[in-house]
């Protein structure tokens, strides 16, 4: 069992080294980013504690995935399997628990722990074969995959958006609109296998144009309920709403170019940092988008032309 956890650390170490970063530094950066995001969430939102618990449950559910569970079951005895599931769930829930305690959210912290333990008995084979319908069937593949994977999060965002309208909290509802675009950006995090790019007859430029147009069409459909709700509920703030919608398109465009600028590899740390900085300070995107675009064309030419 000890060797299992040693192997998990080795896997993490190898993933980080592929990104060009030493394991201790990577872990340190992970902790800093986790704290920064948590702080930002609690600083910005009134209902941050509920969202935080929701994120914790979503993370824990990943450990109940049938593929993951089956691998452990196939190797270990029933007793060791139970122990591994318990240690994994506890290890993943602790960062959330510690931060909730830091924010004096003791009840929420206890809730996360009390959910983490029974979840060790849960195996998500129940939802393995269930096909979630999407409005993107005709435009594979990023939004079909992404929508199905993040469906609970999108649903929660919409519920929050409605709550924002009900309590007359424009910022909360506007945040939810922005969140839809952030979720859409995550659909482009991982590079797909080279075969799925190779099959295209378009040249590098045409391929990027095709990807961007599909992304804009799909994200428009995905954000439409949020946009309409906001425009109908806060008509006087229409400029802010449209500004966030436009900024969302720009962010998504930059994400697509950033992804293909390193393709078929994942973005390395310097590229990631440059991109992260430009998201933090959006005017930088004016310079960063053309850089990523030309790099994308260069990378894609090797596969498509």
């Amino acid at each position: 069992m000890k060797y299992y956890f040693k192997l998990q650390y080795l896997r993490l170490q190898r993933t980080l080294s592929e990104l060009g970063i030493a394991a201790p530094l990577g872990i340190f950066l992970g902790i800093v980013i986790f704290i920064a995001i948590s702080k930002y969430l609690f600083y910005k939102l009134d209902f941050a504690n509920y969202i935080y618990v929701f994120f914790a449950i979503i993370s824990l559910l990943n450990l109940s995935d049938i593929k993951h569970v089956d691998k452990i079951k196939a190797i270990f005895s029933a007793k060791d399997y139970r122990k591994i599931r318990f240690i994994e769930n506890l290890a993943l829930s602790l960062p959330f628990v510690f931060y909730l305690v830091y924010e004096s959210q003791h009840l929420m912290a206890a809730s996360v722990l009390s959910i983490a333990v029974p979840l060790t008995f849960f195996e998500s084979n129940l939802i393995k074969g269930v096909k979630i319908p999407t409005p993107f069937k005709k435009w594979p593949f990023e939004f079909i995959m992404g929508f199905r994977k993040t469906f609970p999060l999108l649903l929660l965002s919409f519920v929050l958006c409605i709550i924002g309208v009900q309590v007359d909290n424009f910022n909360l509802s506007l945040f939810c609109l922005g969140l839809v675009f952030l979720i859409a950006m995550t659909f482009y995090f991982k590079p797909e296998k080279i075969y799925f790019t190779w099959i295209h007859t378009r040249n590098a430029n045409g391929f990027l144009k095709h990807k961007v147009l599909l992304a804009f069409l799909c994200v428009s459909i995905m954000s439409l309920p949020f946009l309409l709700l906001l425009l109908l509920s806060f008509p006087s703030n229409y400029l802010w709403i449209l500004a966030i919608q436009m900024l969302g398109y720009v962010f998504l465009l930059s994400m697509i170019f950033a992804k293909y600028s390193a393709y078929p590899n994942e973005m390395n740390v310097p590229q990631g940092l440059l991109y992260g900085l430009s998201l933090w300070f959006p005017p930088m995107l004016l310079f960063v988008i053309p850089i990523f675009y030309f790099k994308s064309v260069r990378q894609l030419k090797q596969i498509l032309e």
Binding site: K128, G129, K131, K137, K138, W139, P140, F141, I144, M145, R148, K149, E192, K193, I194, Y195, F196, W198, I199, H200, T201, I303, L304, E305
Partner: protein
């Protein structure tokens, strides 16, 4: 037609393909046989333009990749994508506007289920259906019979015959000699990165016997059965 001239491919200091030259004519089925690691998949990836190489690969179709259907040994599938959506993706990639997949579903695949949950044979059949729907001119099928049930094997053989009759260029690799001898017009033996033998239909049996003799040799005696 695919014309290969002095094809070399190395991975670091290891040369995998050592100067392959051959003209694969259209309207014929070319079988490629060879041991594991002989270079079959590397040869196919070079033809597909997925690997850099030295030498030339020419065809009347340019660029080759836009006219080529490539069935890989272990087809890759995206998660949370149904069989229908996979076929749609392959068609969109070639700017083919069709959604009539159920009518063309000759392997009776459950197209509304996630492709990642298909069995090995079903995945192979879905990937094959995808490259067929793309209406390619060149077909490179890496182990098309592997993991597929006997009924589908018969169907795949008939598909290959139909493609041949439509003057397509077809390259197939297989570990099962009988499946190749049924469908191929020529079989090429790839050994250590080189074609060491080319056989036409009338000499398939002697090639098979030669391979058996080479593979088995006196190895069985070592087992003391």
């Amino acid at each position: 037609m695919i014309e290969i001239n002095e094809l070399h491919k190395s991975f670091g200091s290891k040369e995998v393909l050592k100067g392959i030259s051959y003209n694969f004519t259209s309207g014929m089925v070319h079988g490629i046989v060879g041991e594991n690691g002989a270079g079959k998949t590397t040869l196919f990836k070079c033809i597909a333009g997925m690997e850099n190489y030295k030498g030339t690969i020419k065809s009347e179709y340019y660029p080759i990749k836009n006219h080529m259907g490539f069935l890989t040994t272990n087809p890759e599938f995206l998660s949370k994508i149904t069989g229908w959506e996979y076929l749609k993706l392959l068609c969109i990639a070639r700017k083919i506007d069709t959604e009539d997949f159920e009518a063309q579903n000759i392997f009776e695949l459950p197209l509304n289920e996630y492709a990642e949950n298909y069995s090995t044979g079903m995945k192979k059949k879905l990937a094959l259906m995808g490259v067929l729907l793309q209406k390619n001119d060149l077909y490179v099928l890496d182990e098309p019979f592997n993991g597929v049930d006997i009924h589908s094997n018969i169907l795949i053989n008939e598909i290959i015959n139909k493609l041949k009759a439509s003057k397509k260029t077809i390259l197939i690799s297989s570990h099962i000699f009988s499946s190749l001898s049924d469908s191929c017009d020529e079989i090429h033996l790839l050994k250590e990165g080189k074609f060491v033998k080319h056989a036409t239909k009338d000499s398939f049996e002697s090639l098979n016997n030669e391979m058996k003799e080479f593979v088995i040799g006196d190895r069985l005696n070592k087992l003391n059965l």
